[in-house]
Symmetry: C2
Subunit: 444 residues, 2 copies
Amino acid sequence: MKSTDDYLKFLSFPSISANPEHAKDMSDCCHWLKSFLDEIGLQTELWNEEGRATIFASDLRAGEDKPTLLLYTHYDVQPADPLDLWDSPPFEPRIENGEVYARGAQDNKGQCWYVLQALKQLLEEGALPVNIKLIIDGEEEIGSFALHELLPKKKEELSADYLAIVDLGMPSKDTPAITLGTRGVASLDLEVECAKRDLHSGTHGGIVNNPIQILVELLASAKDEKGRILVPGFYDGLIPLSEKDSARISYDFDLKEYEALVGTTATGGESDYSPLERSWLRPTLEINGVTGGYSGDGIKTVIPARASAKVSCRLVPGQDPADILEKVCRFFESQSKDGVKVKATAHQGCGAAVRTSTESQVVQAFASAYEKVFDKPCAFIYEGASIPIAYELQKASEAEIVLVGLGLIDDCIHAPNEHFGLDRIEKGKEIIMDAIKNLGNASI
Amino acid sequence: MKSTDDYLKFLSFPSISANPEHAKDMSDCCHWLKSFLDEIGLQTELWNEEGRATIFASDLRAGEDKPTLLLYTHYDVQPADPLDLWDSPPFEPRIENGEVYARGAQDNKGQCWYVLQALKQLLEEGALPVNIKLIIDGEEEIGSFALHELLPKKKEELSADYLAIVDLGMPSKDTPAITLGTRGVASLDLEVECAKRDLHSGTHGGIVNNPIQILVELLASAKDEKGRILVPGFYDGLIPLSEKDSARISYDFDLKEYEALVGTTATGGESDYSPLERSWLRPTLEINGVTGGYSGDGIKTVIPARASAKVSCRLVPGQDPADILEKVCRFFESQSKDGVKVKATAHQGCGAAVRTSTESQVVQAFASAYEKVFDKPCAFIYEGASIPIAYELQKASEAEIVLVGLGLIDDCIHAPNEHFGLDRIEKGKEIIMDAIKNLGNASI
C-alpha cells in the first residue's frame, strides 16, 4: 500500500538531530516531507537553517469565518544506539504482526504520519473545514532551540484558535485518552565550596567544614518530613483544577502494577497527596545528581574542596519558572556562611506548565473523535513530564491547547526496537480527521 | 661523607610498594639495607615475601635485666608522580642548601636513616645500653598488610618494654615535640537503592522515592546543629586525658595562619570544642565521597536507581573500631523502609586510636633527648590522622608507646619535591642515641 510504503520511506531517513554528521539525512528527510506536503496541496516554508529546519505548512482557504487549528509534530529522532540491542537495523523498518519496528516509528514520525494522512484524505475529499497550520519540528529531541527563538518573530504566522500537540500517549491500548496538562520544568546547579584544596580527613577532620556535609544538610533542609518543599513562596499562587475537571480526571491507576514496573514503592514526594496527584498536579523538587570527594573502591580519607548537586523542579500552573528558580537559588545561597560558599546557578531552557480544560472546545472536539474511533469514553489524564515548547507555542499562537497522541508505554521510544502499530496509524488518521470536522462544525 | 653518601644511595632505590613493577627495586633496597644492618652488627631477618619484605633486626646483648626498645620505621615510599612537577628526578637525590630532595627524603627513609646512624654509632661506641628490636616495614604506604597478619604470630619476637614509632613530625623547625596519640579510623560504604532502574523525573517525580533525597536525609540525620554525632552510643566510654597530660598539651595553634593555609574557616565539627581539641581529641564522622545520578553539564532529568556515599570515622581511646562500625552501620540501615533499601558495608583495615602519657618512661626518655638536642622544652602534641599499625604493634609487643619524628609540614611528603634537612638527620641521630641512653639508665 502506497501510504505504508511512504511511512516506511519516512522512517528510513536517519534524521538524528543530536548528531551533526546526520545533517544531510536531516535535510533529505525535510525535503522529502516538504515534497509530500506540496503534493497534497499545502503551502510550505522552511524556517531556520538547512539540516535542522522547521517545516511550516498551511492551508488557510477555509477563510476568516472558520477557526484555525495549529498542529505540532516533529521529524527528528533520538540517536539509535546501542545498536547491538536492536533486532533489526533501526533505519531499515520492518513489519511484524502489524507493528512497524524502526527508530521514530512512534516518536514522532508515526504520530506525524497519521496527521499527514488525515490532511491528505481531507484535502482529497474537498475543501478543509477549518484553516490548518502545521509545524513539523526538526529539533524537538535536542530542545527546539531554533523554534524557541523564532516564536516571538512568527506570532502572526502562528496565530490560531486551537493548538494540538501530537506527541503524547494513552494509558493502555484500549483506553483512549487526552492529556489535559504537562508540568513545567526548571533546573539548577548547586555547589558548595569550603577549603581551597582537598584536605586529609585525619589531620583536618573536625576542624574545617566538609562541603559534602554542608551539601547534604542544605538539600535535606529543602523538605519537611511530609515531603513538602520548604523553599519560601514555592507553592504561592498555584492554580487549582476547576471542579469540573477535577471530577472528570481518570484516576484509573493500578498501584501494584506501577510498583512492579518500577521495582519500588510509590511512597516518594508529598505524603498528603495520592501518587497520581503527586505526578500530575503537584510541583516537585528533585535531586538529579550529587557528586563530591572519592567514589572508587575502599576509602580515600579526603575532605574535598567542593561538592555539588543538580536539582530540578517540576512546575504546575501558577508557577513562573524564572520566579521559582530565583526562590530556590536564594533559599540555598542564603545558607552561605563564613568559610562556606554556596553557589546556585539556574540553567537555561526552563519551561512553564501547560494546562487545558475539559470545557475547552478543542478538547471536546478531540474527545469526541477519540470516543467515535475507539467506541469508548475518552479518559482525561495529565502528564508529569514536560514539553517546554508547548507552553511557548501556546503563548505565540494564543490558542486553546490540547495534548494528544496514541503512544503506549511499551513502544520503546528512545530505546532499542522502537515500534508502532499500523492499526494506530489508521486510528490516528481517523481521530485527526474527525476532530478537524468537529472543529469545523463548532462555533468560534 | 660516607654517611651522607649512603643516605643518598638509600634514596636512589625506587622502592614504591604500590607498584608491582618496582618489586625488584623493593627487593634491592631491602637487601642493601639488610647488608647495612648486618655490617653494623645487628641480627637480621626478612619476614614476608621478596619484593615487599619486612626487615626485622635486633641486638639483645644488653640482657634480660635491661629494657627492650622496639623501633618502627619503613623503607617503602609513595609513587613519585606527577613527575613533571619535580625540579629534579625523584630517585636521583640532590642537595641544595643542606636540604636533600628525593622521594622518601623524609617519609620515611630520612627518619629511618637517622635511626640507623644512631644504632651504628652506639654499636661503635660499645655495647648497647638496652636491647634493641627494629622493624623496617616494606608496606607502610599500602597499609602494612603483611605485618598486620604477621603480628599475632610474632608476639615473642616483638615483645618489648617500649615502642617508638619514628614516622611523625614537629609543629615547626624550632619546636621539638612528641606526639602523645593518634586517632583511629574506621570506614564504610553507604548505599541507598529504590527503583530497579533509573527513572524519568518528570513522569515519576513525586511518586517514587529518590535515593539521593533519602541519602542526603540519612547523612544529615547523623549530626545535630552543634555538630554532635547522633549515632546511638557513639561517644560511649571515651577515655578522657589525665589531668596532668591535659595541662601539658601544647595548644600553640595560630588560627589565622591555619585558616590562610587551608583557605577556609576552622568552623567544622563540634562547636563545643576548640579547633585543636576537635582535631586531636574528639572523634569524627566525615563524608569522604558522595555519588548518584547525573554529574555532566546541564541537567538530566533522572531519578537514579541508587546513590552512595563513603563515610569514615576518626576514633579516640575508648572506641573500638568494630563496635563503632557496627553502631554506625546499624544507625543507617535501621532507616531502611518499604521500597527504600539502605545498605552499609564496613571496610576492612580499620584501626584503633593510640594514646600514651607524659608520665610514661619512654615519653620522658625521648622528651629529655629532644630538650637536650634542641636546647628547648619539648612540646606535647597529638595527631588527628591515624597510624593503624601503631595500635597493632603496641598490642603485639605489649610495650609503652611513643610517637616521634622530625617531619615538618612543608617537607612535601607524598608530593613533588619532597625534601629533608641534613641538619635534621644529625639531630635525629642525636635524639635516638640520647633516648636509648636515657632508657638504659631508667629502671624498669
